[in-house]
């Protein structure tokens, strides 16, 4: 029972790291970025390539799994995305979904369509027994890393100067600009950061979720569920939504395997019926 809860939390944590970047761009910058999963995939592939081709240890690949997608995010933001900030949502959706298909084809061409496998270091494999609860080492590692990330993100957003600049830029870009905040820079950095987080999520999740060229499309639906259920105005929303969905998904598949696949959607529908704005949003 507790093992199920634990697995659910780990799964939810991975979902959160993958999706929180999306909740930033969607919620804070009001931009529909369906290509979010592409950055996650890039992160996963960076880890897989570094480990399998160059023999870099797993932990050392993680910073790269963050930096490479972040850099890619920055470049794309400066060259492509920023032109679409002022366009309507339909244009943004069309543009980003096109980007998804291009990315899938490109990765397929370069890396081949087979799933990429990574070998975890031995100290992350296996599981330990804590007070009679079986705990997987890798999953505890994920929970730890993601836990730190959540706290750090929340602090950055609420306690730092950059955090307040970002919130100001989102609330009213014109006034923010008038006060001397370089909104273009703030958005670019935020976007890059969100992309980097997705990449990190992709790398961490490669072991649990699998990694192949269709990743951005396969998990798009999960990202969207997390963001819609959680609401897009803060980070706590998506965080609790990820946990809820992770646990519901794992528990559902354990207790009612025949219906397991639908539990996550049922949860989404129920939440949206009662809280159409998302779980943690004050109704406007």
């Amino acid at each position: 029972m507790l093992t199920i809860l634990f697995d659910g939390i780990a799964y939810g944590m991975v979902l959160f790291v993958l999706a929180c970047g999306l909740s930033i761009t969607l919620g804070l910058m009001n931009f529909v970025n369906l290509a979010h999963g592409v950055f996650a995939m890039v992160g996963g592939y960076v880890t897989a390539i570094l480990m399998n081709r160059l023999g870099v240890p797993f932990l050392l690949t993680l910073p790269f799994a963050f930096l490479v997608p972040a850099l890619l995010g920055l470049v794309l933001e400066r060259t492509l995305y920023q032109r679409l900030y002022t366009r309507n949502h339909l244009d943004q959706v069309l543009f980003t979904i096109g980007l998804v298909f291009m990315a899938i084809a490109a990765v397929d061409y370069v890396m081949g369509s087979q799933p990429q496998l990574i070998q975890l270091p031995t100290w992350l494999r296996g599981r330990v027994d804590v007070f009679g609860v079986q705990i997987g080492l890798y999953r505890s590692f994920i929970i730890a890393v993601c836990g730190v990330l959540v706290v750090a993100l929340q602090l950055i957003l609420t306690r730092t100067r950059f955090g307040s600049q970002l919130r100001a830029a989102v609330d009213d870009p014109r006034v923010a600009r008038g006060l001397g905040i370089n909104t273009a820079l703030v958005f670019a950095v935020t976007f890059a950061f969100g992309s980097g987080l997705a990449g990190l999520g992709g790398a961490l999740g490669a072991e649990i979720l699998g990694l192949d060229p269709t990743f951005p499309l396969k998990f798009l639906i999960y990202f969207m569920i997390v963001v819609t259920v959680g609401g897009t105005s803060s980070l706590t929303g998506p965080f609790f939504a990820s946990l809820l969905l992770g646990i519901a998904d794992v528990a559902g598949k354990y207790y009612v395997p025949s219906l397991g696949a639908f539990v996550i959607y049922t949860v989404m529908i129920v939440v949206l019926v009662f809280r159409p704005q998302g779980l943690f949003v004050k109704a406007r």
């Binding site: 093992t3 199920i4 697995d7 799964y11 397929d108 081949g112 369509s113 087979q114 799933p115 496998l117 070998q119 494999r125 296996g126 599981r127 079986q134 997987g136 890798y138 072991e207 649990i208 979720l209 699998g210 192949d212 269709t214 396969k218 998990f219 999960y222 998904d249 794992v250 528990a251 559902g252 598949k253 354990y254 395997p257 025949s258 397991g260 696949a261």
Partner: protein, 388 residues
């Protein structure tokens, strides 16, 4: 008058063109090979294409004084594309036979075309039972799911295992494995619990936890090949390998093509299948060596051997018919028997399906590589779903 002349001339021209067409077709025997060369099933396509080309390089490209030509087309693993390509090959290229078919739906979509055009169709990969019943022109050289899963159920029961949990992906081949294994295992006095995993399933942990809690003697798994490695990793991560639950499955999960990338977590997995690259026979040694040499060290898997034997069936059939296709070629392929790299095999003359040995294998390390080492043989298995 001129109009009539014009028509005559036209008819003559068409007639000439037609005879010219047939004359051209007489020159070469064309075989259309339709495979998923891109997309998620690329591995299947590459293995089969490489094996077919190897066969032609070894056995020459002349039958009955005519040149044999192989036309390889990519269907990306999508059924309507397969069907369209098959139609083009039959109508435009006037192929003598079509072959390949990486997945069940691809073969099923093309079956009616084979019947209408009386074109022999050699299925080299797809494994669902019903395929050969969909057209009298289909001959199969791969495997049939019940043929593997059924005898495996009996073998597992004989090993003294009483309770097995099956975890299969919720799609056609998965259902086939589940049904045939469970039925035979139950008939031999075993108990089975069936679990199905959704096709798009990111995380196996809940299913594995369920298995861990129910503590069966063995866990039978059938998932698409790429996902299999993920499954096995999580099996080991959860410590199930040390809990006394044996991991068993059909050979698809320990596919030779990906076995090494799965890594040591696969060690000790017991599977039933019709081909292992480690099969101990002179035919297989020669085949594996030649295949590796021609393909940059790539190890042939059961798909490759399906392609190799498919070409053999076509070659032997064409030799018998002197290069003629159609019903004669199907008749000629019926009842063929030979020593394939996988061991002795034959084409059932009643069902046109394959009869072959099923081997029980265990994953072991040989040198630095993992192999499926065969340790028991169930000889000459017919597809039990048609042997009523």
């Amino acid at each position: 008058m001129s109009r009539r002349n014009f028509l005559k001339a036209g008819a003559l021209a068409i007639g000439l063109a037609l005879t010219a067409g047939t004359a051209l077709a007489q020159d070469a025997i064309k075989i259309g090979l339709i495979l998923p060369m891109t997309g998620p099933f690329t591995s299947t396509g590459k293995q089969i294409a490489a094996a077919a080309q190897l066969y032609m390089a070894q056995k020459g490209t002349t039958i009955a004084g005519r040149k044999v030509e192989l036309i390889i087309k990519d269907d990306t693993g999508v059924a309507d594309v397969t069907r369209r390509i098959a139609q083009e090959l039959i109508v435009n290229d006037k192929v003598t036979a079509i072959a390949g078919f990486g997945l069940t739906p691809l073969a099923l979509a093309t079956a009616p075309l084979a019947t209408q055009s009386k074109t022999p169709m050699v299925v080299m990969a797809a494994a669902t039972g019903i395929i050969t019943e969909r057209s009298p022109f289909i001959v199969r050289t791969s495997q049939v799911v019940p043929q593997i899963a059924g005898p495996f159920g009996e073998w597992v029961a004989k090993q003294g295992m009483k309770r097995v949990v099956t975890v299969v992906t919720d799609y056609g081949p998965g259902h086939d494995v589940e049904k045939w294994f469970s039925d035979v295992f139950k008939a031999n006095g075993g108990q089975v619990e069936n679990l199905r995993v959704p096709l798009a399933n990111p995380d196996f942990s809940p299913f594995l936890q369920k298995v861990a809690d129910s503590k069966p003697d063995a866990l039978l798994v059938f998932v698409p090949s790429g996902v299999g490695s993920q499954f096995m990793k999580q099996f080991v991560e959860r410590g199930l390998d040390k809990s006394g639950i044996r991991l068993i499955g059909t050979g698809d999960v320990t596919d030779d093509d990906i076995l090494n990338t799965i890594g040591d977590v696969a060690l000790g997995v017991v599977t039933a299948h019709h081909y292992s690259a480690a099969h101990d026979s002179p035919e297989n040694k020669a085949f594996v060596e030649a295949f590796r040499k021609a393909n940059n060290g790539l190890r042939p898997n059961f798909m490759a051997v399906g392609g190799y034997d498919g070409m053999h069936a076509l070659y032997e059939g064409l030799k018998k018919t002197n290069g003629a296709g159609g019903e004669a070629l199907v008749e000629a392929m019926k009842g063929l028997a030979w020593n394939s790299p996988r061991g002795p095999m034959s084409i059932d003359k009643d069902t046109r399906d394959i009869i072959q040995n099923v081997y029980i294998r265990k994953v072991e390390k040989v040198g630095n590589e993992l192999f499926n080492i065969e340790f028991a043989t169930i000889p000459n298995v017919k597809d039990p779903s048609k042997a009523k």
